[in-house]
Symmetry: C2
Subunit: 104 residues, 2 copies
Amino acid sequence: MSNLLDDLAPRADGEIFTEVLARNGVRIERIVSTGQSTPAEKPFRQAHDEWVLLLAGSAGLRIEGEGERDLRPGDHVLIAANRAHWVTRTAKDEPTIWLAVHFT
Amino acid sequence: MSNLLDDLAPRADGEIFTEVLARNGVRIERIVSTGQSTPAEKPFRQAHDEWVLLLAGSAGLRIEGEGERDLRPGDHVLIAANRAHWVTRTAKDEPTIWLAVHFT
């Protein structure tokens, strides 16, 4: 995957996670969303800090204790370890592409 | 700096480096270029691996032993530690915005 904005798979039922690079306690991942959102009763929650940057599309992100915000390309958010969070929406008419940096 | 594609300073003489996040041996940085290139006799060379992703604009990147390539948004490159490299050009008509992840 030489370009993170290309090489998109056909529209999938779920979000698609692709590892870009991993080393020294860091993992960089691309996530492609195509209209999905996180079920209210099944939040994401990871054991390490995670930094996300929206590269394309649009999304809503709710973080436990921090409320909800709309994200557009260039917006970035640090999601603390063990903090429940939900992608409340992603664009339905275009792919939403995230860069995630995991501090593992 | 809540959005990496906004909050651009007025055109500067040099490239502008802004730290976005630092922790656990990782430093994330935004670099804004406005037409600059690296002098042939003064290559960049860092003591750690660095991963770069072009977010906006366009650039040429030459890496010692790997030749030169054109970069457009979404393109990403791992620059190994101690490897000389040169930004051979950046767009003159728009800002070129890089995300750099340093594995320090």
